[in-house]
């Protein structure tokens, strides 16, 4: 098998395809780091402008996550300014100093490069692994010796995987070191642990597409057909399933939009203020604490009743999107980069509980200092064994299935 791996590498190393595709990975990673770091730097500048002073306990803003340079996820969303008041929590919708054109497109971060471009490259490296040899007539020769079919297909798979993965690994490592040296990036132990886990996820993801390409190649007779089927599978797994999953979940989730909760909260707040003011209009000593308590109770009720519905919708979306390795990888990478959905939910819960604990102090109903807001992000261990576990398992199982199917399919393959 080692011989086959070596042959695969040497045969492909000096080809036009290798140079074009490696050039593509290199240029994409370079663009990704330049653009993503620039975006991160802008967010850090924004954070520094908006960071509340020690006495401004009614404002919360979290610093941008350095790993968002690799997987931006929801970091720009989570890093907005939260304004706390007796009316609840308000977020600034347009905090980021960036044009509206950006909302039409996706950020080309490292996650995007891996998820979309590296998977395409993996397919382009593997689509002719078996049928290409058949077309050249070398497959017959290869199988004429004592080499076992399983060794041939596994050797091809490993060789082609290494051809894609090794340059990616080197570039990823260089990018990680460069990013760690850039201003505003604090790269501690956790930075490297998280990046190592993201890299491990990328390895499995690339392996899935190499195995898929090899599987398709061992199912058809011509490389042109294999490429067509491979590209169709790529479009399906990278674009259609994740995007359609999100679309379907929203259509069948039957969860009212957040605008409804916003309206209900707003109107009930106005009603509480109005009614209390009317009742106290003629009173000499006006006590407005009643309004605040009423607003707090209503808002809390609305939040508590909407949260489970929203969580159900999020879970449904996750389940549908995970049907594709691309979806599973997105969730895994963003959670590990601390920019995922779970972190967003945890931040909002922490803020809501903080408001709950300090509500009376905000409104002057109770004496005492408002406590300092603190948010403890999950550790990589907690994430891997918790929220990211289904995605990690899927990324382990999917390449395994594709590899097994490739071996089975190659056993029956007619090399003539």
């Amino acid at each position: 098998m080692t011989e086959i791996v070596r042959k695969e590498i040497l045969e492909n190393l000096n080809t036009y395809r290798f140079y074009v595709l490696i050039g593509l990975i290199f240029s994409m990673m370079l663009i990704s780091i330049i653009v993503s770091y620039g975006d991160y730097h802008l967010r850090v500048e924004n954070y520094n402008i908006l960071r509340p002073g020690p006495k401004e306990t009614d404002k919360i803003i979290l610093p941008p996550e350095p790993l968002s340079i690799f997987a931006r996820g929801l970091d720009a969303n989570a890093g907005r300014l939260y304004q706390l008041s007796s009316r609840g929590v308000e977020v600034q919708p347009n905090q980021q100093s960036i044009n509206r054109v950006s909302s039409l497109f996706s950020m080309p971060d490292m996650l995007f490069v891996t998820r979309v471009i590296l998977s395409l490259i993996a397919l382009l490296f593997s689509f002719d692994a078996v049928c290409g040899e058949k077309e050249q007539g070398t497959l017959k020769l290869m199988l004429a010796g004592h080499t076992r079919r399983a060794s041939v297909v596994l050797g091809k798979l490993t060789g082609r995987f290494l051809l894609v993965f090794v340059p990616f690994f080197v570039l990823f490592l260089v990018s990680s070191i460069v990013v760690s040296l850039l201003p505003d990036v604090r790269a501690g132990e956790e930075y490297w642990i998280r990046l190592a886990l993201i890299l491990a996820g990328s390895t499995l993801y690339v392996a899935s597409f190499i195995a898929l390409g090899t599987l398709i190649s061992s199912l058809v007779n011509r490389s042109s057909t294999s490429m067509m089927v491979g590209l169709a599978a790529w479009v399906l797994l990278v674009f259609v399933v994740p995007n359609m999953g999100a679309t379907v979940a929203q259509a069948i989730g039957d969860v009212p939009p957040a605008d409804r909760v916003e309206m209900q909260t707003r109107l009930s707040t106005i009603q509480s203020i109005y009614e209390t003011q009317q009742q106290m209009k003629n009173a000499k000593d006006k006590d407005y604490s009643r309004i605040m308590i009423q607003i707090r109770e209503t808002n809390n009720h609305l939040f508590q009743s909407y949260r489970p519905e929203l969580n159900r919708l999020i879970e449904l979306t996750r389940t549908l999107v995970r049907c594709s390795p691309s979806g599973a990888f997105s969730f895994l990478a963003t959670e590990l980069a601390n920019t995922g959905i779970d972190r967003d939910i945890r931040i909002k819960d922490a803020i809501w509980m903080f408001v709950e604990r300090n509500f009376n102090r905000f409104g002057g109903l109770e004496k005492g200092e408002v406590e300092q807001f603190q948010f403890r992000p999950s550790t990589p261990g907690e994430q891997i064994t918790g929220v990211a576990l289904p995605d990690a398992l899927l990324l382990l199982i999917i390449p395994g299935i594709f590899v097994a199917l490739s071996v089975v399919s190659f056993m029956r393959y007619d090399p003539r």
Binding site: R17, V20, L24, M28, I31, V35, G38, D39, L42, N46, I49, L50, L74, N77, V91, Q92, P93, N94, Q95, S97, I98, N99, R100, V101, S102, S103, L104, F105, S106, P108, I117, L120, S224, M227, M228, L231, A232, N243, M244, A246, T247, Q250, A251, D254, P256, P257, R266, L267, I270, Q271, I273, Y274, Q278, N282, R307, L310, I314, S330, I341, I345
Partner: protein, 473 residues
């Protein structure tokens, strides 16, 4: 001869598996995406209508001038053709603390994403071996040897391939649009048919640009393998890199100040600072002109009413004070508003420049031009947001004028009437969104149409030049 070649190319493609696959994929995706988005849209429309009703009833019951802006906030309903083109996904804006975070992470599949990503890839798969594949099969020498000129052959290949690509695509788009037109939840307006036709036309131009790219690389490669690699490289750059990197690069080349900082300044100028000025001016007015009223200003409303009823002279004096106070509020609001407007104007100017730069950078790709055309036509883009803001601004001013007049009337009736007292606003003007006219929607994106046409001409011309030098052996 060209017609003959077109027919031959078309017939060859018809029998090819990729034609059947293209038909199946585009039809299935187009119809399913429109059906799913339409369902989502239906629910959003119903929810929006119910919210408008609830807010209306609320104002009828609890209307008062103090919080009128807050209680009558106009939320934007789903766009009319959102089931077709999502455009700027407002759910991804995350306007509320409790917004669903998923849309900010994952985009949804709509007509635009199917055309831009999937159909462009299909176009390349249709054309990458048009020339190099014929050479590999040894047919190119035979055709050219039979006296067919290169010019005619390339034109025949381009048009024949394009027709076989556009037919399945058009069928799927028409099926999707028909689904939408027959959907009871969408009221199709006459202008929508023009929108559909223009969307289809722009899609043809977009798809044919990518067909031209595949053809060009086919004339620049000796083997089909090389041609597909080069074409896919170009596809990645044009579809995935330029449009996605452009807006973020624009933000780095031309930074704008923080929008939240601006919001904070607005709050300071038009709220806190304004309140402080109001108190200062009112105190000064009382001191200089109404010192005699000092004891009754600030009395509970019922006591004040009693005093005013029992003393006509005092009532007259108090009315004078109330009018003076009204004037102070109006002048201060105007002054503080103008002060903020100046700051906002600078911010908006810079934002527009950055937006323009992002548009210029991204327009180096056919994708961005097509996206701008599609969102412009369906009112789901940047111009539509600006149009919406203008409409809401106009309405807010009309509502404020109406409410002000009502408040003044109430003050005339009862000088002790306060801003927190119930004000009957049931006869107020209601917000009616007037969509931009078709011409207004098309006009800003005319350059994008030009760029798409230019892309087609450039790629075809490049393929033409490439083929003139092509070694057919």
């Amino acid at each position: 001869m060209v017609l003959h070649l077109i027919r031959k190319e078309f017939h060859e493609n018809l029998l090819n598996v990729r034609f059947i696959a293209a038909c199946g994929v585009s039809l299935a995706l187009m119809v399913s995406s429109i059906a799913v988005l339409n369902r989502s849209n239906e629910e959003q429309v119903l929810d929006y209508q119910s919210r408008v009703r609830q807010q209306d009833e609320f104002i009828g019951k609890f209307g008062h001038i103090n919080r009128l802006g807050w209680m009558s906030a106009i939320s934007r309903g789903p766009a009319h053709l959102q089931a077709l083109v999502l455009g700027i996904d407002r759910e991804a804006h995350q306007d509320n603390f409790i917004s669903n975070p998923v849309p900010a992470l994952l985009s949804r599949l709509d007509f635009v994403s199917i055309v831009t990503v999937i159909m462009s890839l299909v176009a390349i798969l249709f054309s990458y071996n048009a020339i190099s594949g014929e050479r590999e099969a040894g047919l190119l020498r035979q055709i050219l040897g039979a006296g067919v000129s290169r010019k005619v052959l390339l034109t025949g290949k381009f048009l024949g391939g394009l027709v076989s690509l556009v037919i399945p695509f058009t069928i799927s788009v028409l099926a999707g649009m028909l689904f939408l037109a027959l959907s009871p939840s969408i009221q199709i307006r006459p202008a929508d048919f023009s929108v559909f036709a223009m969307l289809l036309g722009a899609s043809w131009l977009y798809v044919s640009a990518f067909y031209g790219i595949g053809l060009f690389f086919s004339t620049r490669s000796h083997t089909s393998g090389q041609a597909i690699l080069k074409s896919l490289f170009a596809w990645v750059i044009l579809v995935l890199v330029i449009p996605n990197a452009g807006p973020f690069l624009a933000a780095q080349f031309y930074p704008i100040p923080s929008a939240t900082k601006l919001a904070q300044e607005r709050y300071m100028i038009t709220d806190r600072e304004r309140d402080a000025i109001l108190v200062q001016r009112r105190d000064a007015m009382i001191e200089s002109r109404f010192a005699d009223l000092r004891d009754i200003i600030g009395l509970p409303q019922n006591q004040l009413q009693e005093k005013l009823k029992s003393d006509a002279a005092l009532d007259e004096r108090y009315r004078l004070y109330a009018r003076g106070w009204e004037d102070i509020i109006a002048v201060t609001n105007r002054e503080q508003g103008a002060k903020y407007d100046k700051i906002e104007k600078v911010f908006l100017q810079r934002s527009r420049v950055q937006e323009k730069l992002a548009g210029v950078l991204t327009s180096a790709s056919p994708l961005s031009n097509f996206v701008f055309i599609a969102i412009g036509l369906t009112e789901t883009g940047i111009e539509a947001e600006d149009h919406w803001d203008r409409e809401v601004g106009e309405y807010d001013r009309a509502l404020a004028t109406y409410a002000d007049a009502q408040y003044k009337k109430a003050m005339e009736r009862d000088p002790s009437f306060e801003i927190n007292d119930y004000l009957d606003l049931r006869a107020r003007p209601r917000f009616q969104y007037r969509p931009a006219g078709l011409l207004e929607r098309v006009e800003p994106d005319l350059p994008q149409w030009g760029v798409l046409i230019a892309f087609n001409l450039i790629f075809f011309a490049a393929a033409f030049v490439g083929f003139q030098r092509y070694d057919v052996r």
